[in-house]
Structure formats: C-alpha cells, structure tokens
C-alpha cells in the first residue's frame, strides 16, 4: 500500500490541477507587479484583438484584459476562499453540535440545515447581495450563508459514526469532558472528508461569485472574472474574446480545484481508487 503522498502526488490529474492553481495563486499574489496597469484604467483603443502588445486585447472601453484577468484572479480567489472558510467554520460547528449532542439539539439544528438546503440557494444569494448592497463583504456573507449546509451534513454524519466508535466510549468512561471529547477524540477523525468537501466548496464558491458578478452584483471597484464576462456579453458578435478569455480562466480554475479535491479524496480513501 502506497503512502498518502505517493497516491496524491502520483496522480497526473492532481499535478495538472496543482500546476494551474499554483500559477493562478502566483499571478493573484503578484498582481500589481505583473500587470502594470490598473484594471479600470484605459490603456488603448477599445476592442483591440489580442496581439503582442496587448496579449489578451482590450475591452469596450479600452481597458487591458490582461490587467483585468490578473486583478480578477485576486478578487475571485480571495472572496471564494474567505467564503469557504466562513461556511466550513459555521457548518462544522452546526454539524458537530448536532451529531455529538443528538436529541433535541440535533432535531433543531438539522431542521435549520434542511431549511437552508431547501430554499433555492442561488436566488437567496441574489436577494441577500441585492439587499445588503453589493460589496466584497456582502458577497462573502451571501456565499457563506448558502454554502454551509452540505458541510454541516457531512460533519454531522462523520461525527455520528465516530461517536459510535468504542474509543469515544472509552474516553467517556475515563471521565473526559464533552468538549474535550468532541475536539480531541471526535473532530480530528472527521478531518479527511471535511478537507475534501471544503476544497470542492472553493470551486462552487468561485462559480457562485462569478455568476453574481456576471449579473452585476459583484463588488464595485473590484475587477472580477464574472464581471468581465458580464461586461463583454453585449459585444459578443464583434469582440468574442471579451467573453471567452475570462470564461476560460474561470473554467480552468474550477476544473483544477475539482481535480485536486478528487485526488485528495482518492488518496484519503484508497479503496475507491482500487476499483
């Protein structure tokens, strides 16, 4: 049996995904160094087709698409990651309490989770951002509010199964307290499915963020990939690259995260990959 590291890093899909993600993160981190222009600055004539001078062309106002892509990577990644962290934190809390304490606590929290899973999440996110007025914060809040239920369910399921294991009973018998048992005995053993679900959630968060930005609900003053597609859609007929290029960026990034997330899953649960 190979080690986790061999199984994970020996997977060509994971390597491809990590390579693209590494590039995006690098570009996002070094955005001001790489793109000399501010993304909203007019640098040339509008509708320039990609060329050597303007590698990805210019948009309807003559802004550099390259600068937009680079700064957009920043916005998209930061919003998606912060939203994911928030929903993982909240979802874990809800799932852990529900699964560990059971009974009425479980009933109440699970009703709440089911409720949030039933209401159409994307429309809820639209309403939230619209009412909170669009900003980076309201995007993060909206995405987190609609994304936590799956995390809560995964954590609850895992906590229920770990809680039934005998080492947890043994800990009760030697007098360990509830919170210590939850945090030292139970939660550490639910980590691997949580990591997998959490990493896949980043991809979903990017898709929601770009769809909201596409509808014009993005953070004003922040360039993002979804906004670029939305701004370019009216010029589809004459300037196809305005829409195509940022769309490809979203696609590749989401794809890479999914590949890495699935690679994690296969490496953590080796039996499935043996099939």
């Amino acid at each position: 049996m190979n080690t986790f590291r061999q199984r994970f890093m020996g997977n060509p899909r994971v390597i491809a995904g990590l390579a693209w993600l590494g590039l995006v993160v690098l570009v996002a981190a070094a955005a001001p160094l790489i793109a000399s222009h501010h993304p909203f600055e007019i640098v040339a004539e509008p509708f320039l087709i990609p060329s050597l001078e303007h590698p990805f062309g210019t948009d309807s106002l003559g802004r550099s698409i390259w600068a937009g892509l680079v700064h957009g990577a920043r916005t998209t990644l930061v919003i998606a990651i912060l939203a994911t962290l928030a929903s993982v934190a909240f979802g874990t809390l809800v799932g852990a309490l529900a699964g560990y304490f059971g009974g009425l606590v479980d009933d109440g929290l699970m009703r709440l989770t089911e409720f949030f899973q039933t209401i159409p999440s994307f429309i809820f996110a639209i309403v939230l951002v619209a009412i909170l007025t669009p900003s980076a914060t309201s995007l993060i809040v909206a995405i987190a509010v609609v994304s936590w239920p799956p995390i809560a369910r995964v954590v609850r399921g895992e906590v229920l199964s770990v809680k039934a294991r005998e080492y947890v009973q043994a800990a009760v018998l030697v007098g360990q307290g509830d919170m210590a048992i939850l945090f030292r005995q139970v939660l550490p053993n639910t980590l691997s499915p949580l990591i997998v679900t959490g990493s896949l959630l980043v991809a979903t968060a990017i898709l929601i963020e770009s769809a909201l930005s596409f509808l014009g609900l993005g953070a004003p003053n922040l360039m993002s990939w979804g906004f670029m597609v939305g701004a370019g859609r009216s010029f589809l007929r004459d300037a196809w690259w305005l829409v195509t290029i940022p769309g490809v960026a979203i696609l590749l990034t989401v794809l890479s995260i999914n590949l890495v997330g699935e690679g994690l899953n296969d490496a953590l649960n080796p039996r499935l990959s043996d099939l």
């Binding site: 009973q169 018998l173 030697v174 360990q176 005995q185 550490p188």
Partner: protein, 537 residues
Amino acid sequence: MNQPVLGIEDLRVALPAWSDRPLAVDGVSLTIDRNEILCVVGESGSGKSVMAKSILGLLPAPHVRVVNGAIHFENRDLLRAGEGEMRAIRGGRISMIFQEPMVALNPLMKVGAQIDEIFRVHTNVGAQVRRRRVMELFSDVHLPDPERIPDSYPHELSGGQRQRVMIAMALALEPALIIADEPTTALDVTTQAQILTLLKELQGKHGTAVMFITHDFGVVAEVADRVVVMRDGKLIESGATGDVLRDPKADYTRALVSAVPSLHPRHESTGDRPAPALAIEGLNKIYGGRAGLFGGHGRRVHAVRDVSLEVPRGHSVALVGESGSGKSTLARCVVGLEKADGGDVLLNGENIAGYSRKQLKPYRHLVQMVFQDPFASLNPRHRVGDIIALGPTLRGTPRREAWDRAHELLGMVGLQPEAAGRFPHEFSGGQRQRIGIARALAMEPALILADEPVSALDVSVQKQVLDLLDELRRSLALSMLFITHDLRVAAHVCDEIAVMRHGEIVERGPTSEIFASPGHEYTRQLLDSVPGKGWEH
C-alpha cells in the same frame, strides 16, 4: 472407487503487488466426493475464501487472479472453461451460499423473484411451474408461509430466514456441489444450529457434495465428513474429521484445536460469597416512545426488564445471550453510558443509577470496559501511551508518572513497553485488545466489564486474550462482568453465569451447575445449540 465431484490440483492464486504476500492460495490440491461435506478450516487470511471463489471464477479480477493449477469438475477444467460454459455451471451445477445473507440478496427485489431468476436463466419452464418450484423450495428449507414469503423483500425477513432463502436458491437446480462460505458466522447460535441441521438434512436428501468453509472447529465437529486445514494459502493438514479433531498431525492444527475453549467449566464455584463489587437491582431500560416533532411515535422497546444481578468481589460473572437480548444495553447502563429507567446499580455499595455525568465523575474509575472491536476501540490519531495515560491524567496524575505506569501496564499485558510511543495501526487485533485491557487497568478499577472482548479475534488469539484476562483477574483480585454470546468462552473464564433473553435474565447460578443441569428451557436450547458440543478434546 467413485470419481470425485470436484478435484483441485496445485491451485495458485496471485494477490496484487501491494499485498503483504504474493500468493493468496499457494499450491492447494484437494477433492470432494459425492454425498460428502468437506470443511475447509482456517483463520482470517488463510486463503480459504479466495480458494472457494476461484472455483466459480468469482475472484475480484483483475487484481486477484489464478496463476496455476486445474479445477476438475464433470470432465472439464473450470479454469480453462469459457465464459458461457462457466455461466451454465454457476447456479446450475455448482452453487454458492455466502456469509451475510442481508447483503448477499438484492435489497430491491422480492426474494421469490431472486430465486425465480435462476430458473429463468437456466431453464425454459413456464411462469406457473417456476412459481410452484419456488414454493416447493421454500417449504423444503422450512420457511413458514411459503405463500407469502416469496413476495417479501429481504429486509422484511429475519437473518435466519434470509439464510434459508439463500439455501433455497443454492438448491434450486439440484447442483452437484454447493460451496458454503461461512454460512452461519453472521447468525445467532440457536439459528446457526437450525441452519446446520437444515444443511445436513438437505445434503443427505439430495446426495449433494458440500464444501463448507469455516473458522470454527465446533462447526467442523458438527457437520464435516472430512476436513482440510489451511494457513497462509497453504494446505496444512487433511483427513477424516474424527482423526483430525482427535489426533491432529500438524503443530498448527494442534494449536488451533486446543485453542477452542472447552465446554467444561474451568472454575469451580468456591461457595464463599464476598460482598458484591457490582449489584444490579430491578433495572429497566426502555427505548423509543418519544413523539416526534411532527407526530409519529417511535416504537417502544423494553430492552432491559427488571434485571437483578450481582458480581461478588474477585469473581467473574458471564452474561450470556444472543443478539437483541439486551445484554449490551445492560452493560451500557452499568457503566453510565446510558441512563436506566428505574432500578439500582450499586458499585462498591454506592448507587449510581440515575447519576448525571458530573455526579458520576468520582465513580468513573471504579468500572472500566474492555471493548469488542479492536479496530474501533483505540483512537487512530493518538499514541498508545497517551491512550492508556489519558484516564489517570484526567484524575490528576502527572503526565510523566502516568506514562511510566503505561509502560508498566504494557509489560503486564504482554507487550513491549516501547509500544507506548507507537500508533494503534501498527498493531494486530490481538495486540490492540491487550492495549485496551491496559487502558482499563490504568484506572485501577474494582470491576472490569468486558463486552464480547474476543468475538472479533481469530481462535488462536482468542485463547491468548482470554487467558490473559483470567490471569490478570486473579493476580489483581479484580471482579469481572463478562458479556458474551459464546458459551465456550463463558465456561473458560467465568465461575458464574446469567442467561439473558428478550431483556430478562432467565437463569443464573454457578457455571458448573447450570452447564450440568440447566433449569430453564432456553438455557437448555442454548447449550444444545453450541456447535460441536459432543466433541471434547
């Protein structure tokens, strides 16, 4: 001389590259005659199941594959038969019965239809004839109400009924050979006895050859005509059942046979009864009955009913019962993992029934448990030393001191003290049970509650763990409540026994007396059901 029904010749089955050994089956040759039950005995990992599966070509390809040998059956070599030819043999000439009838049946298909399918695949008879044959089969395996059962889904039947369905399925086309892979391991002992009787009856009636795979020498003594013993893929010994059981040739077989606990109680009751370490009086536990938020009433289950029981200091008492008898629930009430609905639990004279978790804290150390599943009873992320030292540290022992004590305890349970620095996954099942025992001892309890502590272990390891528990109990003057479904185990370690059924204790008393003259009908039935009861080594 009759030609054997099946002949296996120098069979070798390769395991995938990542396994701990190259061959699952390593050069096995054997034959089965008509009208014969051949038992294949071995512990887990002996390759007995892989050998059986390769007869029908059911190995999980492509990882596990046959690399050498021949399997002769009705004038052909099954290893070289085409896919179509094999399909005609499967279910038609050779059929198979599996261990877990719940998962071996399709959950979404009525059981009648699952048997009917065999006739549809292998014969051309019409629907009415098939329906009649299915009902005949169901009455052959003594299923009640053969009109109704065919229209049931597997989840609507009991474990024993499901296994009868599997047997009916195996008999459908009167095959020449039936391969039964641990067919009674998942069943309760009384059900097991019924299924074994049924198998023998039907085998005698049809003259079928049966290959019966088991880990249990009691079962071997019960059913086998001939027996082969396997270990690490190799055939260790073969011979007539009586010869092998009475006078095993190979050391390994001898060790295995002598590891089976005797049904003769080892401990005579001494007669003196010191004050009880544990006294249970009129204990009740009821599950369910709580109304849901939106109507709907959970079914009420009276899991433990008016149970009274005592464990005198320094004695060991066995609590014996089948699954669903309430014995585990009783145990959970005693250690405070579950709150009893009335009744008293006196630990060293202190009534802890109904205590909250906070109130229980000062009494926690008095009773400690040894658990059933060696793979679930140790936290995989904690070091063995920390697992053992956790309890004492929580009670205020300095960490250093607790770790030193953990080293000592590991030595006491027969492990190297250095084991403290390692993680549970580095140990075998038997070693993990030893660690679990050390954890319980670390609290210096007055009472050890052992919940089926050896039922997940191989026979040879079982014996070692039982002997260790017995020895520790005597040297440390511990009291022990020992929960088991296995009367042999009870006879081996306990001087008193209480028999439980449907939440009630039907009989209790000194082990030797109850074994000699059981007072209650159910106790007698349990004793009669022990496989191989007539055989003593």
